[in-house]
């Protein structure tokens, strides 16, 4: 799922400062599961913004609502008119973008979209995927070099590795993990294979994915 994180409150206050009536809009799919955009977070943020703005003498009204998914037009249509002059979205980038397209008032992101991740237990996620559009996990024992290696290199480890640690010093080297895991899986031959450089166009040039036209990739 898409892992998100609430923005610092000062950044949010700055974005909404010129508005009078703001709807904070949660998203009950990825953002809710990431504990940043469900009904609870919407209500908590609304209360915090009310408190913060009233202390500054500003008069901005904050209301809250939650959509099942902000990245679906039909769910957005569920929204009832409420006289708002801005939305503060707690959905991922896709939600913010679709809301902006469908609504005629400004939409601000209340969260930062971090990565596609997997749960490591309560309130903890591991970044596992960067949506690069050219998946190599089959050759890298399920560990994504694009995501887990800060340089995103396709053949590693690089010279910065030391005792299995990345030179950044805050994580294990993805490529050392890939080699160890391939060995465990008995896929040693993959270790010596050289991967082609990544084709960045798969990410940067892709516009949409329309399954209604088989055989065509846009």
């Amino acid at each position: 799922m898409i892992v998100v994180r609430q923005k610092p409150i000062d950044d949010i206050l700055e974005m909404v400062a010129r508005h009078k009536r703001v709807l904070i809009l949660g998203c009950n799919t990825c953002s809710a599961v990431a504990l940043a955009g469900g009904e609870k977070e919407v209500e908590t943020l609304a209360e915090l913004l009310r408190l913060a703005t009233s202390r500054k003498g500003a008069s901005i009204e904050f209301e809250g609502a939650v959509l099942q998914r902000q990245c679906e037009p039909e769910f957005i249509e569920e929204l009832e008119e409420g006289g708002f002059d801005a939305f503060l979205s707690l959905g991922c980038g896709a939600g913010v973008a679709l809301l902006s397209e469908k609504e005629d008032i400004p939409v601000y992101p209340g969260i930062d979209t971090l990565f596609i991740g997997a749960s490591k237990g309560l309130a903890n996620w591991q970044a596992e995927c960067s949506a690069c559009g050219e998946c190599v996990l089959g050759e890298t024992a399920g560990i994504c070099p694009v995501t887990r290696c800060p340089k995103g290199i396709m053949n590693g480890p690089c010279g910065g590795v030391s005792d299995g640690q990345c030179e950044l010093g805050d994580r294990d080297c993805a490529w050392v993990q890939i080699h160890e895991r391939l060995e465990e899986l008995g896929q040693d031959e993959c270790i010596t294979e050289t991967h082609e450089p990544r084709d960045h166009s798969t990410k940067t040039l892709v516009r949409e994915w329309d399954m209604s036209e088989p055989g065509e990739r846009k």
């Binding site: 940043a36 009904e39 609870k40 209500e43 009310r50 609502a65």
Partner: protein, 663 residues
């Protein structure tokens, strides 16, 4: 929340699809929502608790004192330590809560006469009045209450406690005519002609006697007249030595009342052995503590005396019941004992005294009724309570009163919902699973303060002094919250699995299709899952963000500058003295139930400080949940720091001076 077009299912309590009852509630003949009112008392909400009790029982002050409490036998805490003191807590709800004053139903034209004002009659009257009927009680004694007033001695049920309930019932619009014996002052036929229905709840007014030699001596008396004389405050001359014949709760009441009338030696003589004695264990124990001697397995042979009583001769009773469990006592007449006595009081049972009503009766003198509808053979006349069933518990009579009212209501209005509700089957929650019991701490029942024995036997003053408000809340905290725990609002669930990850008992499971469901047996309603759920898709009985908002608003409605709102843990034995002129206290089952949003709301509503008080390990009800609370406290501090309000939130465990200095 601003609305979207999709709506969520927010039904609560009895509106739920299935009626899964906690064992306490299932064991109660009227199915009071016991966990519901224990939860309310645990949070110091006595009026809410009282209202919950009153939904099913119009006599909370009475039952809080003298109910034989079948609920407690069912308590799931029995397997861990002691059952929760359900009745004591009910008494506290009646002692400290306010009885409702608002009338619910619109008045209806139909009139109902109720004969007798014991628990069955009072209950039926309250129910019928609640439905809008014009109800008049006819009572032969000068005051209402029946055996509650004239049978149960004041040291167990004082008049003021009974009057609290009766005043409430009368306030619902019930009329009462006292000193009016139906059958003598007015006939049953006259009542039936003048009303749309008549309910006979006359109880058992006659004492059974024994056809033995000497039973007609002047000092050989009956239990009920003796108890009535005691209840009227009369001095009854019983002499120094009293023998009470009988082994039931009435015999215990008589024995203890005799002690209070000045008897120095009181001997209870009964046919049954210790095991078979019908009196409740605790009643026997309390009698013994007051110096009453209990002699089992003796059959009265004759009252000894020549013009005046001087003793009771008894023979050994070898068995009371035959192999079909019928009453058929056998004696060994070679084993004889004489109990010296100045007075012998027979407490061997009661019988109906309704000969002058003219009802069709069975051979045993009991009115014939249909067990479902409680209709008698006489048109428009119903009968319920002990007069029909023989001696039962007060709470059974209350149940019978409900049934009678439901049946009358159906016959007069055609609306059978109330009757159908009484007959609905309920599922009962099973035992505490090991996953839960292993994480629960032993916490013994809080004993209620009582008069010292020497004080108790010196007067008819109430022996049990009642919990303080704080003691009641503490005891209610022992409740395992059976059936009040987590419930999924499926439509809101994001299937994030947070609830599964925070539950210490493994109550949430994943269902095929990705839904989460909760195993009610493994849930003790701590609220960890509900408080952490990002979609607010988990409901807990008695707790919601909306309810918390209302409570905060109530506390801060007339706040001044510098109001401190204290969220106090209901489990903490002593709360620290919080400095400040305007300190408002809001007790909660656990700080888990106070969300970050609630704290922010309190500050926005004008509190200058919000305090979390009393979250200490030693008294914690949900120790496994403390890390979540601690994390939340840090989160609140971090959030407030972002807007420069970090000093507005203070956490106080005990009465730590350093912590208090922050205020």
């Amino acid at each position: 929340m601003h609305s979207t077009r999709t709506t969520h299912d927010t039904r609560t309590g009895d509106e739920r699809e299935s009626r899964l009852f906690a064992p306490c509630r299932a064991a109660c003949p009227v199915h009071i929502d016991v966990p519901g009112y224990l939860t309310a008392v645990a949070e110091g909400r006595f009026t809410d608790a009282l209202e919950i009790v009153l939904e099913r029982n119009p006599l909370p002050s009475v039952c809080g004192r003298v109910c034989l409490r079948p609920c407690e036998e069912g308590c799931r805490r029995c397997l861990l330590d002691d059952p929760v003191a359900v009745a004591h807590i009910k008494r506290a709800a009646a002692d400290f809560g306010s009885y409702p004053t608002q009338q619910k139903a619109r008045p209806r034209p139909e009139t109902v006469a109720v004969v007798g004002s014991g628990p069955a009659g009072l209950t039926a009257s309250a129910d019928l009045a609640e439905l809008g009927f014009q109800v008049t009680i006819y009572e032969q004694k000068p005051e209402l209450g029946g055996m509650l007033r004239y049978g149960i001695p004041d040291y167990r049920l004082p008049d003021y406690a009974l009057d609290r309930d009766i005043d409430y019932i009368l306030s619902r619009g019930v009329e009462a005519v006292t000193d009016a014996r139906v059958g003598a002052d007015i006939t049953l036929d006259e009542l039936a002609d003048a009303n749309d229905a008549v309910l006979v709840t006359a109880g058992l007014q006659a004492s059974r006697s024994l056809p033995i030699e000497g039973a007609d001596l002047p000092e050989a008396i009956m239990a009920l007249p003796f108890l009535e004389a005691c209840a009227r405050g009369e001095d009854v001359e019983v002499g120094k030595r009293v023998v009470v014949v009988g082994g039931g709760n009435v015999a215990m009441d008589v024995a203890r009342a005799a002690r209070r009338q000045g008897a120095e030696q009181v001997h209870v003589v009964c046919l049954e052995d210790e095991e078979e004695m019908p009196a409740s264990d605790f009643e026997v124990e309390e009698a013994r503590q007051e110096g009453v001697h209990v002699h089992c397995s003796w059959g009265p042979a004759q009252v000894v005396g020549d013009g005046t009583v001087c003793g009771l001769e008894a023979v050994r009773c070898t068995s009371v019941f035959d192999h079909e469990k019928r009453f058929a006592p056998k004696f060994d007449e070679s084993v004889v004992q004489e109990f010296e006595a100045d007075t012998v009081i027979f407490a061997i049972g009661q019988a109906p005294d309704i000969g002058d009503l003219g009802l069709e009766c069975t051979e045993r003198g009991v009115p014939e009724v249909d067990p479902t509808t409680l209709r008698t053979g006489t048109d428009k006349v119903y009968a319920a309570g002990d007069v029909v069933s023989g001696p039962t518990m007060i709470i059974d009579a209350i149940a019978a009163g409900h049934r009678a009212a439901a049946s009358i209501a159906r016959d007069l209005t055609g609306d059978g919902r109330m009757l159908a509700d009484l007959d609905e089957e309920n599922a009962v929650l099973g035992e505490v699973p090991e996953t839960m019991s292993s994480k629960l701490e032993t916490r013994r029942r809080l004993q209620m303060e009582r008069l010292e024995i020497w004080e108790a036997v010196g007067s008819f003053d109430e022996v049990e002094l009642g919990y303080t408000e704080y003691e009641a809340a503490r005891e209610a905290q022992r409740c395992l919250g059976c059936t009040t725990g987590a419930r999924l609002v499926k439509e809101k669930c994001a299937a994030c699995l947070t609830g599964m990850r925070v539950c210490p008992h493994g109550a949430p499971h994943i269902k095929v299709g990705g839904y989460v469901y909760f195993d009610a047996e493994a849930c003790n309603a701590c609220g960890a899952c509900a408080s952490e759920c990002p979609a607010q898709a988990i409901a807990i009985e008695g707790y919601s963000e909306e309810e918390m908002s209302r409570r905060i608003e109530r506390q801060l409605v007339h706040h001044g500058m510098g109001t401190t709102l204290v969220f106090a843990c209901g489990s903490a034995p002593v709360l620290p003295e919080i400095p400040g002129d305007d300190v408002r206290l809001l007790t909660t089952t656990c700080h888990l139930r106070v969300s970050e949003r609630a704290v922010l709301e309190a500050l926005r509503e004008g509190a200058s400080h919000v305090v979390f008080a009393g979250c200490v390990e030693a008294t914690c009800r949900f120790p496994y949940a403390r890390p979540i609370v601690t994390k939340r406290m840090k989160q609140i501090q971090a959030t407030l720091a972002e807007i420069g309000m970090e000093d507005s939130f203070v956490v106080i465990g005990g009465a730590d001076e350093e912590e208090l200095a922050h205020l």
